[in-house]
Symmetry: C2
Subunit: 341 residues, 2 copies
């Protein structure tokens, strides 16, 4: 059932039927009723591809999903998607997801944009000096970046959390508890948030004349295995750190396993603060020793970005171009005073 058939069935022109369906004012109310009724009876649905072709809009937002054989799926991605979805469903928007090798993200993003399948783009996993920014700017398609790109002019639309502030505050808390030997368990080095978090730690330490040793920084994928490995490494350093900052509760999960295996007590021998994206599976309060965290909901960020993206497409603007969300520092039991030597 297509427009033509429907209009013939009604004895109307395609024009009028189309207008009736799309809420144009110049069609008689009685006629519109008749059309709506027929739609209900026949189950007619406009062909989106044709609509897209004719209007240039399709009610969809595009995103790239990094994937590869062996590439571990990322809980953060799923959680974020849930946020986007929560908002999208309210506006009858859908997603077009382009799976891509992590090394091929720029090209994948371009393909997605040019494909004509999407109205707006969502971009994540931002890196320092991210090459995608230049491409996005040349594209004349709305987009919002989740995160920022360290080293690039901040003249693009983004939503980010204050990563530097979060880790600055966390470090200060640990300093106040008397800790002097710090370690940072971070995400991959090229990622923007990792850079900023590290800076936060460094500048808080610097205020006390302390530095972050190279051996006390790990950069790795945010999986629990990597957390375990990193912590095992930290624990066998001659000057074992007593204060650990951790870029994700996922990493913390592994890290804590290492602490337990070493027979140490979290919150006493070792203090740990992790960043909490509010993942459903990893509630900080559910850890055997509840975790002190810097918190910011990834899902909420997804909702917000979807709002901005969809709003822009629908021209329901204007939206703030750049948002920086503060994180909350929530103190639980995994932090305590530095142990007496």
């Amino acid at each position: 059932m297509n427009l033509k058939q429907l209009s013939e069935l009604l004895g109307l022109s395609q024009t009028t039927v189309s207008r009736a369906l799309n809420g144009y004012p110049e069609v008689n109310e009685a006629t519109r009723e008749r059309v709506l009724q027929a739609v209900k009876e026949t189950g007619y649905r406009p062909n989106k591809a044709a609509q897209r072709l004719a209007t240039g809009k399709a009610g969809s937002i595009g995103l790239v999903m990094p994937t590869a054989p062996g590439h571990q799926s990322d809980v953060h991605f799923g959680e974020f998607l849930a946020g986007l979805g929560e908002e999208a469903v309210r506006h009858d928007f859908h997603f077009v997801i382009m799976p891509a090798d992590p090394d091929d993200e720029v090209a994948a993003l371009r393909r997605l944009a040019i494909s004509g399948n999407v109205d707006a783009l969502f971009v994540a996993y931002m890196r320092g000096h991210d090459p995608r920014l230049a491409m996005l700017k040349s594209l004349s398609m709305p987009y919002v970046v989740h995160g920022r790109s360290f080293g690039s002019e901040p003249d693009y639309p983004y939503l980010d959390i204050d990563n530097e502030g979060a880790f600055y505050d966390a470090t200060r808390l640990l300093l106040q508890l008397g800790h002097t030997r710090f370690a940072l368990m971070n995400g991959p080095m090229h990622l923007d948030f990792a850079i900023r978090r590290k800076n936060g730690v460094i500048s808080a330490l610097a205020e006390r004349g302390l530095t972050l040793e190279d051996g006390c920084t790990s950069h790795a994928l945010m999986t629990d295995e990597q957390g375990l490995l990193a912590m095992e490494h930290f624990l066998q350093l001659p000057e074992r750190p007593t204060a650990i900052l951790c870029s994700s509760t996922v990493l913390a999960l592994g890290a804590i396993r290492a602490v337990n295996q070493a027979g140490l007590r979290l919150g006493e021998d070792i203090s740990l603060i992790a960043h909490d994206d509010v993942l459903p599976l990893l509630k900080p309060e559910s850890f055997s020793v509840p975790l002190t965290t810097t918190r910011s909901s990834l899902r909420a960020a997804g909702v917000r970005i979807a709002q901005r993206l969809i709003g822009t497409v629908k021209q329901a603007g204007p939206f703030p171009d750049q948002e920086l969300w503060k994180t909350e520092l929530i103190v639980r039991a995994s932090t305590g005073p530095v142990p007496q030597a």
Copy 2:
């Protein structure tokens, strides 16, 4: 840059250029080279919406993502998606994801199908007597169901794991260890896998003349909180069960917390077997007491379903219509002989 412009630039007809690009044999090799060269220089990409409109194919598979405010995102969904993506990226396929309220899945699926945006459908979260099957059959669009629908004629293409067999085997193992008081911590009652797993448990118990008490069965969303609640409930039953079957490592996560909180020892006071979807965050061997599990990789299932779906669209068939994967029973430390009373 579109086909018309490109062809004018080359002094060729759109027809020839189109053929050159799509590998038709009747175009001169020299011409094809010239076209390919021009494409490279201009960065021309065909408009997918137009291609879709003209051919009816778009290189995409559609799926519905259940979502709602407060609807907890599902790790299983993300992991499965990773599997689909791993295969899709090899064929330059993408996904169209339609977020939908869990109560609205049938309608969402229909919208997705009729939209003309997808070539094939993937359907999950199957229920007993699932109403989507009838709709899918009427659709003349390829689809594969992940799971099955208990109570419906099994005449649709699916990939499922042997849920009943898995839980039958798991129950048998516990029976051999001498357990007689069982509890089942299951997924939502209306879901197909939950029905079959329960049946597996019941039939293994029946062979020994045992039954599964109503109070010893919980049906709930597969979150760790629910696991905790269910286990707390089991533990305060007058005839406390000693053997727990658990539909997911996610549930097990909470369940074990409850066991610990009660001061009981897993694998001694309480034996537990969980179904392991091979989620990256929840490795059974990483639990403080490594978990005995029935295992089947969700991600591998995603890869396989993508293969079938894409293969069918590309007419690279034929594919088996129905696949039933066996699970592995892997014995670790969470199961032990029944404790002496």
